[in-house]
Symmetry: C2
Subunit: 197 residues, 2 copies
């Protein structure tokens, strides 16, 4: 490839998940060919996102406003909190439009292997929200060993609060991750959620 | 996904070849998480490419300068022209660093099916370059029926000029396209190029 600028763009694109060096070059070529349409569209989209992205101080979602669109939506039931590991999981559940409450992003899951301890997760914020008065906490961890360990840990931390603790029904395939599931499976899992214990 | 800006970014990314809606969302999430590093890097790369991209008036390559880096490189042999269908093919050959001459991008191949006729391709520019004095024209079309038809058409148009006309050796797998080939195959095909006829 001829110029340094084009090489730099190719390697910036190649670092995106799902794009390798070869597909990044094809993407560059697409952008180069459509430099009147696709290139400015992508640029504008990136620019409008860049400076406005913030982490919601309530739930940890990433949005262009703080509090995020979900937390500041009056139609949402703030008394019901769905706890997820990651922003990707929040988006997956939100896309399915199945949960009318709010969310709480832990920012990971407990993992001895990766050295993730309770103090590395956004648990104090969750406890503060529950303490302020919440009817239900839905533990929507991934159906992995670490996810379920995290769910049990949270259930223990929450057991002294007057709150209903539920977890997603095991419609989730074992080993599956929320962000990869189809909405039908997510719907079944949310609908059949049951008390932890 | 919460905000309109993030949705817009996801759909701009989903239009890149190789990224579908789901992988585009994962790419957005990656950019959102790495909004201090990966997002500005991609933005800067796009910005530095956006306004500087030009089509080389000599060969049709797309570069940040006109004439392009290849045409303006004095170490390149301007008396040897490698004719390719597309900018992607030029880049593929150039990456392999096997050809020390210059290129000419046709902008497609003759196709009855797609209604591409000789006047739709950058043939006048090629003829003008050959007329100005060229030792060799390498016809590096794809090894498809349409690519080979185009090669034969060009060979006919060039037969009255005192120029050696060669084509890539059939190391190319039949039906294959240049941009997808490994450099070893490209090298073999270039090294064993033979006179057309």
């Amino acid at each position: 490839m001829a110029s340094q600028e084009i090489e730099t763009l190719a390697s910036a694109l190649a670092r995106l998940p799902g794009l390798g060096p070869r597909s990044a070059r094809r993407a560059v070529l697409h952008l180069v060919k459509k430099r009147e349409t696709a290139l400015p569209a992508l640029l504008d989209a990136l620019l409008s996102v860049q400076d406005t992205l913030e982490e919601c101080r309530i739930c940890g979602n990433v949005d262009t406003q703080d509090p995020c669109g979900i937390c500041s939506d009056p139609r949402r039931d703030a008394k019901s909190i769905c706890v997820v590991e990651d922003v990707a999981d929040l988006w997956a559940l939100d896309r399915a439009k199945l949960f009318s409450g709010t969310f709480h992003v832990l920012g990971g899951r407990l993992s001895a292997l990766d050295g993730v301890r309770p103090e590395d997760l956004a648990i104090p914020g969750l406890l503060a929200r529950v303490e302020a008065g919440v009817d239900e906490v839905v533990l929507a961890m991934n159906a992995t060993l670490e996810g379920q360990t995290t769910a049990h840990y949270l259930a223990e931390r929450l057991e002294d609060f007057p709150v209903r603790i539920t977890q997603l029904a095991h419609g989730l395939p074992v080993g599956g991750e929320l962000d990869y599931l189809d909405e039908g499976t997510l719907a079944q899992a949310l609908r059949a959620r049951r008390p932890l214990g």
